[in-house]
Symmetry: C2
Subunit: 416 residues, 2 copies
Amino acid sequence: MSSFFDSRLSESRSLFERALQVVPGGIYGHTSPAAGLPGIFPYFAESAEGCRFTDVDGNQYLDFMCGFGPIVLGHQHPEVEEAAARAKAKGNLFNVPSRGFVELAELMVQRVDFADWAVFAKNGSDVTTWALQVAREATGRKKILMLKGAYHGIDAWCAPGYGGIIEEDREHIHRFEWNKLDSLVGMLDSLRDQVAGVFVTPYHHPSFAASEMPENGFLTKVQAECNRRGIVIILDDIRTGFRLHAGGSHRRFGFEPDIACYCKAMGNGFPISSAVGRDSLKTAAAKVFLTGSYWNNADAMAAAATCLTIIERDKVPERIEAIGDRLCRGLTEAAAKHGYVLQCSGPRAAPYPFFEGDQNLRLAQSFCGKAVRKGAFFHPHHNWFLSAAHDEKSIDEAVAIATECLREMSEAGEKA
Amino acid sequence: MSSFFDSRLSESRSLFERALQVVPGGIYGHTSPAAGLPGIFPYFAESAEGCRFTDVDGNQYLDFMCGFGPIVLGHQHPEVEEAAARAKAKGNLFNVPSRGFVELAELMVQRVDFADWAVFAKNGSDVTTWALQVAREATGRKKILMLKGAYHGIDAWCAPGYGGIIEEDREHIHRFEWNKLDSLVGMLDSLRDQVAGVFVTPYHHPSFAASEMPENGFLTKVQAECNRRGIVIILDDIRTGFRLHAGGSHRRFGFEPDIACYCKAMGNGFPISSAVGRDSLKTAAAKVFLTGSYWNNADAMAAAATCLTIIERDKVPERIEAIGDRLCRGLTEAAAKHGYVLQCSGPRAAPYPFFEGDQNLRLAQSFCGKAVRKGAFFHPHHNWFLSAAHDEKSIDEAVAIATECLREMSEAGEKA
C-alpha cells in the first residue's frame, strides 16, 4: 500500500493501516479517503485554528472545506468556545433541559422569519427525517417528493447508495428535477391528494456536479404549487443555512418554506441541528416523537446561540460572500491566464468550482491534488466552504498556490 | 396553569410558559413533563455536580437518573473533562478524523470480546438503525424481529407511538416476547429464510413496567437459534452498556451477539454512540452508508476513551452495583417498615423499583412526587441509574428521604 500514498502522508498511512484493522473501510462517510483523493488528501488531522489545519504528519493546509461546513467562524472561535465552556462549567447533560434550550428556541424563532417554533437534535438527518414525519402527520398522506441528486442525510428514505436499503424504504419517495417546474407539477398531478411533503434545497448542490441556482423564480413557484395543494414544503438548509444569510438561505432566494432544517453552520462545530416551522404545523409536530440522549446538552445550545448572534452582529454572510468572491475571481483569472476556463458555481460563500468541459473531473482532481500538496485544501467534487476566518491574505495565498498548480497543469499539457 | 405547579417551581414554570410559545409541546421526548410527574418534577436544570443537580429555582436533588444514563462517573468528572478539553484545544471538527478515532476503535475492539470492528455516531438511534441495515445487507433478507416493549430509538421502524409513522415503515418488523423462546422460534419458523436480524436487550427494560432478567438461558438460546439460521443477532446495549460490565452487558448474561450498540455510558455525557461487530459482518458493514456532520469530533472520542478506561480501571460497574444494592436494600427495608412491599427489578446499577400490586403506578407516583419535593430525584415509571459518584452517604441520605415519604404515605393510608 505504501507506494499508493504520497510520502508526505506517512503518519496518515500508518494510522489508516491501523484503522483498516478495526473499522469497516477504515474511515467511513464523507471523510473517507474514497470520497476525496485517496493517497493524496491527508487521512487524519492533528489540529486546526482559524482557516488553517495541520494533518498528523505536520503538513499545513489552508482549509477550504471547514469540516464540510460546520466551521463558519473559523476553527476554535474564542467567543463560541467561551460561551460553551461557561455553560458546560455548570454541568452539561441533565434530566431536563437547561435555560439555554428555551433561549435558543426563542432566538431561532426570532431569527427565521416564517418560524413559529423550533426543535433541536444532533444530526442533520435527525431533523430532515423528523420533518418528513411531521408532513405525513399533518396531512395524513404518504408521498414525499425530493430533488434528483439532492442529499438529505443517511436515513433509508434518502441515503446515497443502496447498502442495507430495501425497496419499501423508498416506496413513497419520488424525485423531481431542479429548475423544471413541469417535472414537479406533473408528479403532483399524477399523485393528486397523496403528497405529504416536498423537500427542496435553497439552491441545487449535488456532489460531482456544478451547483445550480434557482431560475425564473423556481422555488417561489414550487411554494405556490405546494401551498395551493396543502402540501408541506420543507427546506433542507443544512448545507448553507446561516452561511448565506443570517435569517436562513430562503431569504436569498425569495420564498418561504413551511419547515426548514438547519445543522452545519449553527454551532461552529458543536453538535447541534434544528428544525423550525409554522404555527399551522405545531400540533402535528408535537405528535411526532423526537429525542436523543445528548440533545439537550447545554454547551451546544450556548455555542449555537453565540454563533448565530455573531453571524448577525458581524454580518458574517456578507463577509464570507465577499471573501469567496475574491477567491473565485482569483481562481478564474489564474485559470484564464493558463488557458483554462474555470467557473465557480453556486454561492460565493460555498462555491463549487469546475473546469469547463471537465466531464470526468480529471482536471479538477489534478488541480486539487497539486493544491493540497502545496498547502491548499480544495475538494474536486464537493462544494467548498468559506468562513469568517478567511481573510484577504489567506485568499491571496490560496490563489497564488492555485496559480502555480494551473501553470504546472498547462505546462504538462493537461486538457479536459 | 400556575396552580398546577408546585410553588417551588416558579422559575421552571415561567421558562416552560416561554417554551410553550416556541417549541411544540414545550419540551419533547424523554425529558418532557408528561414523561415524568408534571407540575412536580423540575422542568429545567441549572447545574449539576457529582450525584447532585440543582434546578432553575435553586432546588437541589440527589440525582438517580444521571441524565437517563449517560452520566456514569458523575456529573463533571475531572478526568473525562480534562481529556476532552485537551483534545479540543487542538481543534475539534476537521475535514478528516483525528488520531482519537483510531485509538477509540482499537479500544472498543479490545474491550468488547466478540468485536472485530467499531463505528461511531452521535445517537443511539444512529447505530441501532444502521445495525438493522447491516443485517439486511449481510443476509439479503428483510425481516427484523424485536422484543415487545423494547425501545430501540426514534426511527420509524421502532419509535414509540405512531406520530408520522406509516404502515410501510414497519412492514417487516415483527415482535416476539421476552423470556419466551417459543414466541421467537414460532416466528422464525413461519418466516423461514426471511429474517435478517433479531434485536435483543441484555435484560428486558420496558417503561411503565418492572425490568425482567433473562431466565433459563434465554439469550443463549436466542443466540443459538439465530446462529443456526444465519440470522444476525443485534444487542441493543444502549441503556446499560459499560454500566453493568466493563466489557459490555452481554458478559453478565453469558451470550454473544454479532453486533452490539452502545451509547449512554460511553462518554459520561459527551455525545457519542457506537456499534461493534464480528469480522464476518465487516464487508457488509462497509457497504451501509453512515456519516454525520459532527461524528468525528475529537472531544467526544477522547472523552469516551477516558471514560471507558476509568470504568475498567476503577471497577466502576462493581462499585455501582454495590451502591445500587445498598439503595435497593434500603428502600425495600424502609417500605416493609411502613407496610409496603417494594421490590427492585433489573440490575442494581439501573434498578426499576416498584410497589407490589401497584398496577396503575399510583403508589410509585405518590412516592416519587414526595421524594422529589424532599430532594431525591426518583422516576416513577422508568428505570433509575446509579453512578460512580454515588457514595454510601448519598445513598443513606436518599434512603432517609424515602423512609420519610413511605411513612407519610402509610399515615395517609395510601394503598395500591
